[in-house]
């Protein structure tokens, strides 16, 4: 199916998310859509998939103008989008989720649907247990289900928004294989939204680059990475530098720490992290890193063991008490855990301050917010609501809410969804905190990031923590080996 986009415009207040974008996409090809955060990729794809309407402009499918009011309508016309967060119902089984998408009114035809599902899983070589519950699946498996749902719904055009974030290497290979198959053998049009250049190079035939809401170029792939980077940023970002920092005493000490939940248990962790140190946690999603960070933050109670902060036993302290003792925790979910839908950035800043007067001084709060917005390079104003920000800007805003100084900073996927330049900037700000003695513990799905930014690294696998390795003496291969479970 040929898609033509003509002069699409979408403004959010003063922010021109899409400013007159036109492009033509042919069937049977895989397209990359590149751009830094806030370049307008997500907005454009949401418009194309019927999630939100454009202010002006046209979408033509095989030369025929179409208009969508909802994703379901877009799917009827053959456009399906795979979101970063799968749209499924976790308490249901795979087959039930699939049934929901295949609306047959009153009749629940398990038999036919089971066969359909089996056909799809075989065709694309997905290994899904169709009677498994969604919440027992990994993100990659949920993605596969979503993909099948879209294909069964008649999608001729598939948009994949950052599909490799948070899935394992094997699942990524499988996903790429199936994408190639869909394009080459079935003639479908695929659009990969990504900021990972190597993925685009590996998979795509052609790449469009957006910057500041405009289409700034397109190129046949493969091409030199420098060319893409130049289009994305108009300048090549300098490589990250890592100033050496003198490490002082123990900031965080864990003694025989065990945490149990109904899903996963981490056991007997003994670890000391020093002030000024950056400690990386690697591992597949859901291997225990998150639980570890939450236990340190005071969001889950350990079943055994002690946690010390600068030598003081804080095991029984609540999250808020630890917060007051300058421990900060930044969760991965932006609008679910951290930011509040419907509240302005100024209101967020006021809430995040350690000290409050009874009446709010809105004037100085707005000033402070404007300063933070500038420092953390958030595209927005003090009156902007958190939900109006793009994903990357939300991420930067989360860092803008952190207190100063901090003794311990716990981060889940600190740069997920950020482009190289923003990620560098965020890390620069984070690493500056080390000079004030902040210990940083972070988890990430990006092994390069972990190796580049950490002093020491621990790998989690099924709740077990491997021995600690020095970041300078390890490699992606070694970490990959550990992640696989070879302790």
């Amino acid at each position: 199916m040929q898609i033509e986009i003509r002069e699409i415009r979408k403004y959010f207040g003063a922010v021109k998310a899409n400013d007159g974008i036109s492009m033509v996409l042919e069937g049977g090809k895989i397209y990359g859509l590149l751009g830094e955060n806030g370049a307008g990729k997500s907005t454009l794809m949401k418009i194309l998939s019927g999630y939100q309407p454009a202010d002006s402009g046209q979408i033509l499918l095989d030369g025929k103008a179409v208009h969508f009011d909802s994703p379901a309508q877009a799917l009827k016309c053959g456009i399906g989008m795979l979101y970063q967060e799968p749209l499924d119902f976790p308490p249901f089984k795979i087959i039930e989720n699939y049934l929901l998408g295949r609306d047959r009114r009153l009749r629940l035809d398990y038999k036919t649907v089971e066969q359909e599902l089996k056909q799809y899983t075989q065709k694309y070589n997905f290994h899904l247990d169709i009677h498994a519950y969604i919440d027992s699946l990994s993100l990659g498996e949920r993605q596969q289900l979503e993909l099948i749902r879209l294909l069964a719904g008649g999608a001729q055009v598939l948009i994949l928004d950052e599909p490799t974030t948070g899935i394992s290497g094997d699942q990524k290979e499988q996903l790429f294989d199936s994408m190639r198959k869909l394009a080459r053998e079935e003639g479908k049009t695929l659009i990969l939204v990504s900021h990972k250049l190597d993925e685009v190079q590996e998979l795509c035939d052609y790449a469009f680059v957006l910057r500041g809401g405009k289409l700034v170029g397109g190129t046949e792939i493969p091409c030199p990475n420098e060319k893409l980077v130049e289009m994305m940023f108009a300048q090549i970002p300098p490589p990250a530098t890592r100033p050496g920092v003198h490490l002082s005493g123990a900031a965080l000490t864990l003694v025989n720490l065990s945490v149990e939940t109904y899903r996963l248990a981490i056991e007997n962790i003994n670890l000391t992290i020093r002030s000024g140190e950056v400690f990386g946690l690697a591992g597949l999603e859901g291997s225990g890193q998150e639980l570890f960070l939450k236990a340190c933050a005071g969001l889950v109670q350990p079943s055994k063991g002690q946690i010390y902060l600068n030598g003081e036993d804080i095991t029984s302290w609540s999250y808020h008490r630890r917060q007051a003792a300058n421990i900060a925790y930044v969760a991965a979910g932006r609008l679910e855990a951290g930011l509040i839908h419907g509240l302005s950035l100024t209101e967020h800043i006021v809430l995040s301050l350690p000290k409050h007067s009874f009446f709010i001084d809105w004037k100085s709060a707005r000033q402070l917010t404007a300063d933070r917005i500038q420092k953390y390079q958030v595209v927005g104003s003090p009156e902007t609501r958190a939900d109006e920000l793009s994903g990357g800007n939300q991420q930067r805003m989360l860092f803008g809410l952190l207190r100063n100084p901090l003794r311990l900073l716990l981060l889940e996927h600190p740069t997920r969804g950020l482009d190289v330049q923003s990620a560098n900037w965020i890390w620069e700000l984070l690493l500056r905190r080390r000079e004030e003695g902040t210990a940083i513990v972070f988890m990430s799905a990006d092994l390069d990031e972990i190796i580049e930014r950490s002093d020491r690294i621990a790998v989690f696998s099924g709740g077990k923590m491997s021995g600690v390795v020095e970041a300078r003496q390890t490699s992606v291969d070694e970490l990959g080996h550990l992640i696989g479970g070879a302790l």
Binding site: S70, A337, E347
Partner: protein, 348 residues
């Protein structure tokens, strides 16, 4: 203000106008000219001074409860127990009026009002603690406490507080004049109670717009987990918001027994709490609209009392009008909802 904002701001008028149109059709079916009916409601509400004062007197407790509800709604709480909180306020004020005699009328009324606010606050705190400690949703806790409050009223007026001439199940003996809030002329309206209500409204306005507490409630109402991560303690704020609302509702209850009536009656609140919930929802949680809509309800309900005399319609028409309004609010109250409906239609 752009077009969208103006539309959002004016939206509460839509269900009201829709309901008026629907009611007109209904009246025509029953062979009454709608204008006649509306005119008689109007003259029933504002025909003479005493009628107008009645509308004001009914408006005050409604406004008090609605102001309190603005706070609990902001915190994301469904304080359906507001009805019980009003009743408890009435009971406490009555208790003081009957059993305690202060040296001066001012002191007497002050004591009654403070007792009423405390009782309403305690009743609300019970629902709040049931929620935070017992994990009982405030709707269920509130409904149970509403029933308890009604049972308590019935027990008191048929038992310990029954008038000396014998129990009638209808109410206590009238309170002495100096136990009542001074009323204007011969009416049921006490100017002082209007001052209470307006002060309460201003306090709510300032609390929600200008204080850190108000911001915390707003954050909690929109996303409790994010609010928690940002440092907001939900348990304390939930209890505080409920207690605040309960105190205002209790004050409303005091106004009911000390100016609308002069004794504790069987259905002392008369559904004012539920009506206040409706007012706040209809206002789209916009504080500017709350007094106006509350006034509208008060006028319609009071105005329809004399309806039967002028037209052949039953005075229950007032109830029917509010009922139809509820339906129209549910149907059209949310502009975004309407958009969604349209969307689904185009999909078919």
């Amino acid at each position: 203000m752009n077009k969208d904002q103006v539309l959002r701001w004016l939206w509460p008028l839509v269900p009201i106008l829709g309901a008026v149109a629907f009611i007109s059709v209904l009246l025509i079916v029953f062979k009454t000219h709608p204008l006649d009916a509306f005119r008689s409601i109007q003259s029933g509400a504002f025909g003479d001074l005493s009628k107008s004062l009645s509308v004001l007197a009914f408006w005050v407790p409604l406004l008090l409860a609605a102001s309190g509800l603005l706070v609990t709604f902001t915190a994301g709480l469904w304080n359906i127990g507001v009805e019980g909180q009003i009743i408890l306020g009435s009971i406490a004020a009555s208790g003081i009026a009957l059993k305690v005699h202060m040296p001066s009328p001012t002191l007497q009324v002050m004591t009654e009002v403070i007792a009423a606010m405390a009782a309403g606050a305690i009743w609300a705190a019970l629902a709040a603690i049931l929620k935070t400690r017992g994990k009982v949703h405030e709707i269920f806790g509130g409904l149970a406490l509403n029933n308890l409050a009604i049972i308590l009223t019935n027990y008191l007026i048929s038992g310990p507080w029954q008038p000396p001439e014998g129990g009638t199940f209808r109410g206590t003996a009238p309170f002495p004049e100096n136990a009542l809030i001074p009323r204007f002329a011969e009416s049921r309206f006490a100017p002082l109670s209007l001052v209470f209500a307006l002060v309460a409204l201003v306090i709510v306005f300032v609390a929600l717009r200008g204080t850190f507490w108000g911001l915390k409630l707003k954050a909690l109402g929109k996303n409790p987990y994010s609010a928690y991560l940002l440092g907001v303690s939900s348990e304390r704020e939930v209890i505080l918001a409920m207690v605040f609302c309960g105190a205002l509702a209790g004050l409303g209850g005091a106004v009911r027994v000390l100016s609308w009536f002069d004794s504790l009656r069987q259905s002392i609140s008369g559904g004012i709490g539920f009506l206040a919930l409706l007012v706040v929802m209809l206002s789209n949680y916009n504080i500017y609209w709350v007094p106006l809509i509350a006034f509208f309800f008060s006028a319609v309900l009071n105005g329809s009392i004399s309806l039967q005399l002028r037209t052949q319609l039953h005075s229950a028409l007032g109830g029917i009008i509010t009922g139809i309004l509820v339906l129209f609010i549910l149907l059209f109250g949310d502009k975004s909802m309407l958009k969604l409906l349209r969307k689904e239609k185009t999909l078919e």
